[in-house]
């Protein structure tokens, strides 16, 4: 097995969602916390892509922010190349080796800066280059790498379309010469034909530069296209984790099956299906036992009582009592 770049060990993250102090005292309510990420473990090998997929509120974006140190874990530990992330981030030399691409290319670029300054910011911040000419040359090179022209550096973000802006975000993320990129829904704000351009670009860059990706998305087809390994999240937990092909070919967890069944697909012309009922419950007050049990067709008493642990099935880890007991049809 190749070298592990990022290693998350039983990571949890809580958020305080209590009402303001005075209101709480008056109405005698206790503090309330929301566990956005609950005991999540995964490892990403160098040069590969791990994708996390799930619906709104499943905690996938929180994991993305934990992975680059924008949030500190409430429990567990994240290690970057073997070092605890907090220690790694204290060293500029390690910090520049991780970067992030955000979802909304309209909000993540400063509208008052020229593109060349946006792309050069990490270079300046980390002091990678100091000579003006060298920085200009490097920015031109980065813009070319993402399919823009060096002359585009003179323009402002509003002069670009959504797809071009996302290219600028990618150029900026690459400017600190990172090895590990966290991509939080990088194409969900884009049209499909532009999405294809960006996904192809990201795969090309990965091959050329040996990048390691943590890829977050709600779109299973995009995830299938991009990932080597795949984690399916539900209410803060990873319910199934394994090689992408294995998970897609034989989805084991009932939630993974639900997701795969629910997606409208081009190959489904004229076919009908039975949609699964129910909605994702509130993470503030999650169901007991396995949090998926209220929507699960295979739920029994044990599922309502006991939180399932991960068990190994082939190369895939699954957190489900029914799968463990072989109750799945």
């Amino acid at each position: 097995m190749s070298e592990i770049v990022l290693d998350a060990v039983e990571v949890s993250r809580d958020f305080d969602v209590s009402k303001p102090w005075l209101q709480r005292v008056v109405s005698r309510e206790p503090k309330r916390t929301l566990r956005a990420v609950d005991n999540v473990s995964f490892a990403i090998s160098r040069g590969t892509t791990l994708s996390l997929v799930g619906e709104s509120g499943c905690g996938k974006s929180t994991v993305a922010r934990l992975a680059v140190g924008l949030y500190a874990p409430s429990g567990g530990e994240i290690r970057f190349e073997g070092q605890p992330l907090s220690a790694a981030r204290a060293q500029a030399a390690l910090r520049r080796r991780m970067n992030m691409i955000f979802q909304d290319p309209y909000a993540s670029l400063n509208p008052r800066w020229r593109v060349r300054d946006i792309v050069a910011e990490p270079i300046r911040a980390f002091g990678l280059l100091t000579a003006r000419d060298a920085i200009t040359a490097r920015v031109g090179e980065l813009l070319t790498q993402v399919g823009l022209a060096p002359a585009d550096g003179e323009k402002y973000p509003h002069e670009f379309s959504g797809g071009q802006r996302q290219r600028i975000s990618i150029a900026r993320a690459l400017s600190s010469e990172p090895e590990f990129l966290v991509c939080d829904e990088p194409t969900s704000a884009l049209d499909v034909s532009v999405q294809a351009q960006i996904l192809n670009l990201m795969r090309d860059l990965q091959q050329r530069l040996g990048l390691t990706y943590l890829f977050i998305s709600h779109n299973l087809a995009v995830v299938r296209h991009m990932s080597d390994r795949l984690g399916v999240m539900y209410l803060g937990r990873i319910v199934e984790l394994g090689p992408g092909e294995d998970v897609f070919r034989t989805p084991r967890h009932p939630y993974t099956r639900l997701l795969l069944d629910a997606i409208p697909d081009l190959d489904m012309v004229g076919k009908s299906r039975t949609p699964v009922g129910g909605e994702v419950p509130s993470p503030i007050d999650p169901p007991s036992g396995c949090t998926f049990h209220p929507r699960c067709p295979l739920a029994n008493d044990r599922c309502r009582r006991e939180k399932p642990a991960h068990t190994k099935h082939g190369n895939v880890l699954v957190a489900c009592h029914a799968v463990e007991e072989g109750r799945t049809a």
Partner: protein, 324 residues
Amino acid sequence: MPLLEVQNLTVEFPTRRGVLRALDGISFDINAGEVLGVVGESGAGKSLTGAAIIGLLEPPGRVAGGQILLNGSRIDNLSRDKLRPIRGKQIGAIFQDPLTTLNPLYSVGRQLVETIQTHLKLSDRDARERAVQWLEEVGIPAARQRIDAYPHEFSGGMRQRVVIALALCAEPRLVIADEPTTALDVSIQAQIIALLRGLTRDHGTSVMLVTHDMGVIAETADRVAVMYAGRIAEIGPVRDVVKHPAHPYTEGLMGSIPSLEHRVERLRQIDGAMPRLTAIPRGCAFNPRCPKVFDRCRNDRPELMEAGVTRAACWLYARGAAHV
């Protein structure tokens, strides 16, 4: 006779720098009980088409040419007062965001009763009974208990169900659904699509389903119109458009969608981006991005023409063209 006929519809926006033509002579029909999907990328004009049909174009946008006929009579030149009873009674609308469609200050029951009584002669009690029936029909559990709840007390999926009930409760002949599932999670999206399809089939309602999601169209629509830069690039039965696209743009669009069934090394991509309205190229609007472009495409604008089973606005299918 088709239920809805759109003929040569042109929508323009006068601006300081000249008139922008957002829809340029589009024509299509929707038959009774049919689901027509309208797809395209942002700015292609798909939502605008829906807005023009229900007479909800935002000023300064205006219908500059063509006509819209519902049951054979024109509705594009009606005054506001004459259009109002048609909107709701004849044509219902479902928009993307259920939170902004519902009035947060009124209970869902009151909104339903108001809509029902505006269009149908029913007593307060009968209207309320009808409202409960509709909530049950769209799958709201314990509808009788929840009818007096406010929109914020419902989840996103439940709210969209209420919006569907509102759109259908006056039993319109045609529903315009503009991105009805885009704001929802996938597992909820499947429920809403199934619901919309089932209800419109039961009531014989025609649907114009506007979305950017080809998957949703593939599963829901009977026919599909693919829009590009304010025109229809291709229109035809959904199966043929998806499996055997005729227009090079449709072909590129289908190829750029990652599939769940099989993984490819590289997605097909269409280089470049859709032109802005201020810079629509001469000839076919797609010609600068088209892999099959030839001389005629750069000069003449193609109209929809027969292209096998579908109709495509592409010179490849001109009679006597040697390029096919």
